[in-house]
């Protein structure tokens, strides 16, 4: 092949790859555009402050669902974060032989388990014994989904802490547990927070595991042992209903949800920017 032909192929293939990358990102722009176009007209003060109106009446909002999603995410974080961060610390620091490999593998496999299956699990271990749908069951399901993400990013971030730091602290005679909790963990803090936010952004939009755990509710939340509304659930219910006003509100809800997810994702990015070179 002539050099010119090879250069030509090089340019063509670069173009094809760039086109593929553009096509991967295109749906994001299209969908975000539609959300702005359809959702912006339906977002108003009522939407954020009011309960849903009864079927057939126009107006009302999704205030209960927004609050519900915040409660569910906080519940999930309270259940999942300590376990996840400690699990990650274990994976990065342990000198045990088999458990780290197994736990790492299990975390990655759990990450791939469909969220609806996690929902079934939460249903059988919490909803069935309690005999009712509850915020607790929803929060538990979301915590299980968060767990592997938090474990793996925490592990990665703890590994990025330079060992010279650890050695310096140990050389001063500080016991290992204190080195881990007071030197290693704070150094990795920014990265761990990023992982936590990525996990929160992921579970905030989860719908499938909430269908038969949190279940949804058309009123303000009434305690953790009661069914609770959630933004994704409300969007789903409104999207498949036959009322135009509900469709409009579904778009507004979707715009709110994606705004929430994007803000958290962006914040996650800002927290670590320039901290570690290893973070891509």
């Amino acid at each position: 092949m002539t050099p010119a032909a090879r250069r030509g192929i090089n340019i063509v293939m670069s173009g094809v790859a760039a086109l593929a990358a553009a096509l991967v990102v295109l749906p994001l722009l299209v969908i975000f555009g539609f959300l702005l176009w359809q959702g912006a007209s339906a977002v108003n003060v009522d939407f954020f402050l009011h309960l849903p109106k009864p079927v057939g009446e126009a107006g009302g909002g999704m205030a209960n669902a927004i609050v519900g999603t915040l409660i569910l995410v906080m519940l999930a974080a309270a259940l999942g974060l300590p376990l996840g961060i400690f699990g990650g610390l274990y994976l990065a620091e342990s000198r045990d032989r088999r458990l780290p490999w197994l736990a790492r593998f299990v975390a990655d496999v759990l990450n791939g388990v469909p969220s609806i299956v996690i929902g079934i699990f939460a249903y059988t271990v919490i909803v069935l014994p309690m005999k009712r749908f509850s915020a607790l069951a929803g929060g538990f399901a979301l915590a299980v989904i968060m767990l592997p993400i938090v474990v793996r990013t925490s592990e990665e971030m703890v590994r990025l802490v330079p060992s010279s730091l650890r050695e310096a602290a140990l050389a001063l005679g500080i016991p290992e547990w204190k080195v881990l909790l007071r030197v290693v963990l704070p150094t990795a803090r920014a990265g761990i927070i990023t992982g936590v936010m990525v996990a929160i952004a992921r579970v905030a939009g989860e719908t499938a595991p909430l269908l038969f755990t949190a279940f949804g509710n058309r009123f303000w939340h009434q305690g953790l042992d009661q069914p609770i509304a959630a933004l994704p659930l409300q969007i789903f219910a409104y999207a498949i209903a036959p009322y135009d006003d509900w469709h409009r509100q579904a778009w507004a809800g979707a715009l709110t949800l994606i705004g929430l997810v994007f803000v958290v994702s962006l914040a996650a990015r800002v927290v670590t920017s320039g901290r570690f070179t290893g973070v891509r």
């Binding site: 990358a21 991967v24 969908i31 016991p175 719908t207 949800l257």
Partner: protein, 320 residues
Amino acid sequence: MSVVAIPHIAVRTAPRNLGDRILRGVLRLAALVLVLLVAAIVVEMLRTALPAMHKFGWRFVVTSTWDPVAERFGALPFVYGTVVSSLLALLIAVPLGVGAAIYLAELAPAWIRPPLAFLVELVAAVPSVIYGLWGIFVLAPLLRTWVQPFLGATLGFLPLFQGPPYGVGMLAAGIILAIMVVPFITAVSREVLLAVPNTQREAALALGATRWETTRMAVLRYGRSGLVGAILLGLGRALGETMAVTMVIGNRPEVALSLFAPGYTMASVIANEFTEATSDLYLSALIDIGLLLFVVTVIVNALARLLVWSVGGPVKAIRE
């Protein structure tokens, strides 16, 4: 002359002070809880799916009657729908995802890589229900009025493209799934390519290869098994994806050859009918479908991880 007494340096062996032992115990416990949690998922699913497994056995996956009133359950239409929609999604997503990863890791100018990678991350961060909403109100009408009539007119001799254009159906599900899994395939493929040692590239470049030749001969060949792993990870996502598919596939439990026809998937039938399951056997049948889905995704994911690990090593967490 005095001998300098060496203090207890050598004594620092395994069980040190109490704090160390407590922290080690707590950390080990956290890892153990993770492992036990997954074990508990397996046990719970098996326990609750048992009545249906007992009653229907292996016939469950090969019969296509789904009659909750008569309590006769066969999961074939759902298995078929899941497999076909996922394969359709991969058909679209694999070339795009791997191509985008090649661009991001090898061919793109340096300044464009970080923002583009971040955009890909955002595509993955869009919640499933929003893809579903867009699918119902934008994609399905688009398919109904433009794409399906066109495909029917040009490729209508194939059984794949026959039948009335509903918009919602297998084709819509496949496209939505493709959009959703492509960022995962891109992100993991990119990680795999970045894990390929630079000496591979340098060797090819030193021999006078162009960037593309370097990518094709030195990078892609080296990372091949990892790329297969990335595709399998995408497949695992597609198999278990629920909301968006439920909203656009049409939810009709039939095995139809045409991609225009409505279908149903394993995940969607669970999402739609779980809270309506009136009898224990009905619920058990649904959980049986969930168990099947669980087992398949675990196998696909385990295989995928091992393949991806074969390139980058197990320690690096793969960002999806």
